[in-house]
Structure formats: structure tokens, C-alpha cells
Subunit: 206 residues, 4 copies
DNA sequence: AATGAATGAGTGTTCATTCAT
DNA sequence: AATGAATGAACACTCATTCAT
């Protein structure tokens, strides 16, 4: 009756590493929610798209709202990391904004605000807050970048928070198929938009 | 035997400009669709909000898709007229854009693109086309204005269609409560956004 | 544009008289709830037993709790009327109690308390109150009868409310199949129980 | 190869009186079943209340019906022993009946008949029989006591089985909150009920 | 012109049960 | 001895839609 140092826990050990099924479900769900919105996505649909059963989804998530929350938080954290890496990288501000825009526009998603408005009826206060916080982290990142750029004289002075929001809003223009799909490549669209955002409408005096 | 009892005719049924009930239903439905999106609005809800029965709604509209289509077309036509009046009115381009932005931002609505994306799964090709056409009329109006302004040298040269879309996108920023609600009035927000849109980020050379 | 005195209401008139379908559903539901309890009865089951669809049940009742409440109230009101008629009728108290017991025991039902305990988790406060009130009307009726009988010296003095409850409890004995089903007829069982209730266990002094 | 891994053996699995986990599960389950009834108790709930996993419950019991059966049998055997001890103890019949009633009424449980009715749909014939037998042992005990008391002239002659059932039925009156909770203590209620049961309603001749 | 009645298909959710570890 | 993962069947409830009146 001595102590067993290894102290193995009883029962089946938690699936290797990061639980692949659960992450797969979250990824799929995130994609579908972004593509179709909260209401239109059925858990049955998510399950089938993952090749599992609806009950399996419920094994990992208590309800639709939680699945939505966790999925969205996952992609937000990824997007934040990606954006931060680009922003901390080399290149002029304009170049880096362009890179971010390209990444953002490549991801097929309804703009966030829309999706949240629709979903928020079914989410708890706490869930909304958590998502908003994650979203704000992204805005904060951009805001800081703009603030610094203003201080450096790299761009004209303005409300940095407003700039961040507007920048994101402009990026959603890519959804309009008439513009993007046609002759111009997605990259060209991104370039045009950043250009517009950069120079504004006012004519330059020579 | 020319007169038939009103039995499921396709298309917009006799909008003889008189039928008060029908118009009332369309107005109510439009408001609800804009507020909550396509899926979340139930015909029962529309009916109750109008003080009639669900069956009455079906008396005027063959199905939810048609009700949606007609309702949206109604508000689009109104918006078009309003925008045209402003744009043909007096003032500099910047001033008139500001006026339009104020009107747009005052209407409590999900941005169009979002609503359409959600709804389009349930609409026929023809219905989508009709709505897109009405929407394009609005974009066209703005596009023409921008094109003319470019020709007049009032703004810097750019793709006028892109300008139109981006302009609308920027206007949706108003939804972000953090920006609008706080210290700045809605009018101030509109002004800031137009300003940003106008001047761009690039620093002016003196 | 004169007044039309008949003033017929528009639309299909409410089905003749007392709406047969709705009553049929309530009767069936009441029977099933009494037989199997709240949880075990599915709305699908109720619907099928009525030869209608689940959705039809929902057309008349907002949810399971409401269906339960209305159904139970219906049978309670019938039982109250029936009991009152017997109690106000002719015969000695013992005879009338016997008659009530026979009627009560003929109706296949779980004793009320049991059913309510199970159901009450799913009912609103108001619904519970309404049922309790209807139930109390029955108890009140018996209580009054017992009180009067005590005053008349027809039975020994005791707490009338307790008598009423105990009387109802004793009637539920009939559920025990070993007793009722076997050799003794239901009537004989009722007679025995009332006899026991009447004379008690104590031996009579000659 | 005589020893098999514990793989779904029918009947009560090795209750070697030692396995603490198994007994803990049965106790918890019994309590929950009595408190909430068969359907409303989920195996997940039982497991959590025991601090184990659902799968652990299935390790000891093949299915819900078996868990129910074994748990109920356990408490019935305890109740039988307890009742026998009281009945074989000192005091007049009335006093001992009162003691049993107090013990019975103290245990928070739905009355047996109710629980069984709800559960029996999910139990096998054999399981029902086993429980009924255990229950009957209790009734038999009371029946024998009553029979002896009749023979001794301690109580008036009557069907002893009926007396046993009615006695148990009367004890369930304690559930009615209006009676028990108010001014009278639970003990007083028990006393009143036994008194009523003892003396009956008929007036005593002086 | 407008309505009451009825339905079918789908949605979110629960739960007993199985199986590999 | 005990567990994590996964599933199928059922359930309460909603909603767009139809039809006779």
C-alpha cells in the first residue's frame, strides 16, 4: 500500500492533445455562422458538415449560443494574432494595411456587426461581452497603430478609434459581388480600397 | 368571366395605390425585416403588428418571399426618391453627401447587404434581381454623382462605382455604439465620417 | 354609407357552438395525463389519440403546461358538479359518500396529489394556483359536508378538513389492483372502504 | 478461465456487500427516484450527485430500469426491517402504528404506488414482480399484524389486507401541505390520522 | 375582404445507451 | 474500476403554408 508516483488517472484518457473533433466542429461552425448568420445555421447542418451527429455537437457544447460564442472567439483570436503579426512586420503603414485587408477579405464572412446583431438575441450578456471584448482587442490593435502613425506624422490627424472602425467597414465592401468578382482580382479590389481610404476624395493640389 | 376572385396571382397584386391594409402590411413588414432580418420575422408577427390575421397577409402576398420582396422594394423606392431630391438640391457635394448620410444613419436598419444575404436563400432569382435592380438604382445615382464630380474636378479621380459602394459602407459605421452614443451626437459622427472619407489618411502637404 | 345593423363579422365564423375539436383534445389529454402522469404523456401521443396533428394541439394550446392546466380544470369542474349533485341529493351521509366513492373510483386516475407533484415543475405559479383552487373547491365541498354532519351529530367530532383529505386518500386505494380486480367487484371495494372509514378500527362495545 | 470481466451480467451484479461506490449509487438513486419519480431522474443526474460519471453507473447497472429496481429493493428491505422491529417491539397496537406512521411520514418520498405506476412502463415483468414482492412483504407484515389484532379482539373485524392498504394510503395524507405545515407539527398530523383511522367516523354511543 | 382551422417539415435540446480505452 | 466519446430516438415547440367559409 505504498504511494504510486505515476498516479495514472482512471478511465479513458482525454483524447490526444487538443481534441480534434471539437476543434473541427468549431471551425466548421464558425465558417457556417459567418457565411449564413446565426439563425440560418442549424445544428443539424453543422453536424452533417463535420460528419458527426447532432448529439455529438451537444456533447461538446451545451447549446447553440455556446457553440456560436466559442466558434467566434476562436476565429477572432486567430484573426487577432494574424493581424498583429502583419502589423508588427516590415513595410510602410499603407503596405501593411493592404496586407491585412487582403487577409480579411479572403475570409468569407458577413461583417461582424451584422452577425452579432442577429445573434445577440439568443446570447447571454456574458457571451456577448466576451465576444465584444475579443472584437475590441482587434479594434484596439488598429487604433493603436493609427494613433502611432498620427504621432509619427505618417497620416493626417484624426480620431484613431473612428479610423479603425471605418477601416474595417470599408473592407467589407468586398462582399459586393459586382465589384470584386468581375474583371478585377480580389487583390486589385483591396488595393483600390486602401488607396481610396488613404487618399480620400479631395483633389490634390499639385 | 374576366374577373377572377383574387386567387394567388404571381407578382405584386393589384397595388392600386388605394388598398390601405396592403400598404400597412408592407410598411410594417419592411420595418420588421430591417430591424430583425428575414428569418427572425414571422408572418404571425407581421400580422399581429398590423392588427390582422396571418391569413390576411396571405390574402395579399403569396408567401413570405413575396412579402419581403414587395416590402423592400417599397422602401427602396422611397429612399431613392429622397436621395435624388437631396442630390439634385443645392450645396457643395460634400454638404449634400453629409445630408444623405444623416438621413441614412437615422433610419434604424441593418445594412442592406446583410439582410439580403440572409434572405436570398429563400428568394427566387427573379425576386433577387428585382431588389438588386432597385438597389443599383441607388448606387447608380451616387455613381453618377461621383462621376460628374470627378469630371468637374471637384474630387480626385477614382472608380466611381467603388466610391459609391465604399460611401455606403462607411455610413454603416454608425451602428457601432461605442462611437456614436457617447459624447458625439449622431450628426457629429456623420460629419466625421464624411470628413474622413473626403480627406483620406494621407497627410496634406502645405 | 348608412349603418348596417346586422354587422356581420368578417372571415370564417368560429366553429359552431363549443368547438368540438378543442374539447375532444382536452378530454383525451385529461385522460392520458391522469393515466400516465405529466411527463410521460407526449403531445404527439395526445394528438394521435385525437386523430389530429401535433400542430393542431398547438393551435389550441400554447404549450404542454397550458394543455395540462385546461384539461385538468375541465375534469375538476365536472367532478365538482357531479359530487355536489350527489351530496345535495337524498340518502344518509354514509350512502352519499359511498356513491361519490363509486364515481371517483370508476374514473381511471392517479391520485391528484401525485400528478400535481410531478407536473408542478413545469407549470407557472398562476397555473398551479388555478388548479389548486379548483381542487380546493372539491375539498371545501366535502369539508362543509363533514362539518355539517358533525354539527348534526351524525358523525364523531373531528377536523373536517382532515376528514376530507383522508377520505379522498382512502378512495385511491382502488388503484391497488390486487384488491380491486380480484374477486371483489369495484362496488364491493368501495363499500368496504367506506365501511372502514366509517367505523374505524376500534372495537365496538356492545 | 472462470473469471470474466464484469460484462453485462443480468440481475443484480455482485453485491458483495463491500463495493462502496455501488451502494453509494443505489442510495443516491433511490433518494432521487423517490423525490422526483422515475422519468424526471436522469442517469447523468444520478452520476453527478454521486460524483462519478454516467458511464460508471452503467458499469454497475445494465440500464435505468435495473438501477431503479435495485435501488428501490434496497430501501424496501431497509423499511421492512425497520417496520418489523417496531411492530415486534413493545406498546399497544395503536402506539406502534403511530410509530410506523411517523417513520414513514418523515421520509421524503412520493408515495410508492405513484412512483411505480410511472416507472412500470419501463420495467420488465420480472422487475415489477420483484419490487411488488418486496412491497407485499411490507403489506403482509401489516396484514398479519391486523389479522392477529382482530383475532385478539384488539380491533374490529375487517379484511386485513384492505386494512393494510388503507393504512398506507392514509399515511400519504402528510403530503398535503395545507394540513401538515401549518400549526400542527408533523407528529400531530400523524397522531390525528391514526386517531381517525382508529375510531372511524361513526359516533360512539356512551 | 378576411378569417378560423389544420398541417408538415424543421429546430433546439435531452437522454439512455454503447464502446474503446 | 472507471472514463471520454459518440450516437439514435424522442420531445417540446415554431412556422410557412393551405383551404373552406
Amino acid at each position: 500500500m505504498t504511494e504510486q508516483p505515476p498516479k495514472r488517472k482512471p478511465g479513458r484518457p482525454k483524447a490526444d492533445g487538443k481534441n480534434q473533433t471539437m476543434i473541427q466542429i468549431m471551425r466548421t461552425a464558425a465558417f457556417l455562422f459567418m457565411e449564413h448568420g446565426f439563425e440560418k445555421v442549424s445544428l443539424e447542418g453543422v453536424a452533417q458538415a463535420c460528419g458527426v451527429t447532432k448529439a455529438s455537437v451537444y456533447y461538446y457544447f451545451n447549446n447553440k449560443a455556446q457553440l456560436f460564442t466559442e466558434s467566434v472567439l476562436l476565429v477572432l483570436s486567430v484573426a487577432l494574432e494574424q493581424t498583429r503579426r502583419i502589423m508588427e512586420g516590415p513595410g510602410s503603414l499603407q503596405e501593411r494595411l493592404l496586407k491585412v485587408a487582403e487577409g480579411h477579405m479572403a475570409n468569407a464572412h458577413v461583417d461582424f456587426e451584422t452577425m452579432m446583431r442577429e445573434a445577440s438575441a439568443g446570447l447571454s450578456e456574458e457571451q456577448i461581452t466576451r465576444i465584444r471584448n475579443a472584437e475590441n482587442a482587434l479594434n484596439q490593435l488598429l487604433e493603436d497603430v493609427f494613433r502611432q502613425a498620427i504621432a509619427d506624422g505618417e497620416i493626417a490627424p484624426a480620431n484613431p478609434l473612428l479610423l479603425a472602425h471605418a477601416y474595417i467597414a470599408v473592407m467589407t465592401v468586398r462582399n459586393r459581388k459586382e465589384i470584386v468578382n468581375d474583371k478585377e482580382s480580389l487583390q486589385q479590389a483591396a488595393k483600390d480600397i486602401i488607396q481610396l481610404f488613404w487618399n480620400g476624395l479631395a483633389p490634390r493640389k499639385p
